[in-house]
Symmetry: C2
Subunit: 354 residues, 2 copies
Amino acid sequence: MIKQIVSKNNKVELGMLEKSSFNTLLDTRYKNSKKIVIVDENTQEKCWPYLLTTFESLKEAEVIVLPSGEENKVLEVCFQVWEALSNYQIQRSDLIINLGGGVVTDMGGFIASVFKRGLDFINIPTTLLAMVDASVGGKTGVNLGSFKNQLGVFSLPELTVCDPTFLKTLENKEILAGKAEMIKHGLITSKSYVASLETAETDIPHLDLIAEAVQIKAAIVDRDFQEKGERKTLNFGHTIGHGIEGFLMTQEVAVTHGECVAWGMLVESYLSNEIAGLSEKELDKIETLIRKIYPELPIQKSDFDTLIKLMRHDKKNKGKHINFTLLNAIGSSTIDYNVDEDKIMEVLTKVFEA
Amino acid sequence: MIKQIVSKNNKVELGMLEKSSFNTLLDTRYKNSKKIVIVDENTQEKCWPYLLTTFESLKEAEVIVLPSGEENKVLEVCFQVWEALSNYQIQRSDLIINLGGGVVTDMGGFIASVFKRGLDFINIPTTLLAMVDASVGGKTGVNLGSFKNQLGVFSLPELTVCDPTFLKTLENKEILAGKAEMIKHGLITSKSYVASLETAETDIPHLDLIAEAVQIKAAIVDRDFQEKGERKTLNFGHTIGHGIEGFLMTQEVAVTHGECVAWGMLVESYLSNEIAGLSEKELDKIETLIRKIYPELPIQKSDFDTLIKLMRHDKKNKGKHINFTLLNAIGSSTIDYNVDEDKIMEVLTKVFEA
């Protein structure tokens, strides 16, 4: 059974790849196109063999292997891929298939969108995080130094297929990372959805819960594709989270994007409590959830200045204050709170020096 | 007096910069934005002082100087600019102003469109070529090795202003380069426009003629922004032209884009005569015009294989043949002629071994 997400901008299907439109597209629209499959070292080993043995038309595909990990989500790697595409004489009518986690779908989407001013691409996210977040919404890009996703374009895949089979290849840590974005989708829009996530934290979520997360995101993106307003609610937890992630990358601490966002959400929930009307009781509930699920991060008071410096670079800022989406309650959020640095210092202390 | 081009996608004005909407935009929409002016070594010297002394609000602008020339239209240079933008803490609400020829507007547009997934930019083309071609239509990009514009995106400037004052700073060679694209606009759509260009070839064309060229291009782009059909007519002369340009770049021969397109148009007119119904008489007319205006290029029979190899990489190709837009008559063109290599060899011989 294939679940289809109803959305204006995002064509997303959930279920077995063989039963999805992916199969049909390969045999029709892209019948005569060359196919390039972009994987990383993990998905080359764990996911690509399934595609290769299942889809006859991928036998001739060229496979490009990206080095794994966020630290390789950089322009230099894109450049090498573009040279390879050029050597393969890839043309505008050919197809790129991104098979991997958020790094592969973000970077692969960017590679496709910029080569010859835009090739079609299909995303097959293999991590929970990529399914519920990275591969929906058309954001593509790479990092610049420690600044996350500073280079990129808005560009939509022709199709995204979330096949839950791939989730079985993941470690617990990666399930938790994805769950952080699911919790976020709930915190900003739906109290009942958060409640449904509070149980069995390391289990693979039921496909219905994944579909609901995708639907929440797709609906927001449909209403505000270019991120002029409402889409910024999806940044809840990310202003602090990106700061943390950039900082820990420079420290060479292995940490997932989801963990950083989880702690970012907690810090921003404290801000929400002080500025945006989030009740003590709901703050407690969020704090309990985050601290129960996510391991503590090696962040100390002496790191706060660096964190704030990194946040200044966030794409959502305008002028001198730092811009946040905050919670008014669980399930309800408001964009564009401008917060000064002292206040941020204060809540960082509450979370990391508690 | 400001001439306004009527167009759905392209907001283009011709006339004095001080009287154009540029002035108003700086004082209103971009009042609180940081301004980044991208120039090259030439326009920094010859054009930037005029802007700096004319517009109060540019006193605080950051100026980024690109190395001049097509050989610097590469990703490495973009990367350095992106790092500079990051250091200046440029935010999504800031403004990039591209002041220069086609290399500056193509590359500056690409830099702006990819940084933080897209900053607003304004093009102020300073060469005739950039006015009539590069800065209208939303194509941005850089070269990859000897392959022209292989990396890029479709992205429209907020405004383009063509101020004829800048044309006085140009050498004859550059006027001729721009005129090649004007001739092309005429050849594909308007016999009378070609006739109006046949006189006084090295003079700066009258502003009305420049405006007409912009109008022709803007109208085509409006009807087919993503280049699925009619827009490919604008590629007349460019399949061969890009091959020539890429080849001469590797030979370190100094040649303008316009000269390569001019000779490309002549070769493709021979093809048009053989395949697409262009009469002998009109072919003669085109040959006379091109040979009168444009100096001969150092291309020999032994280079033809390399040229064809370069053409294979052209973005417009699909499958095994090489794709051309050809003329049915002066003022009338048809896209998507697929031509085999032997035929191309034959017409290359007619033009370069005559």
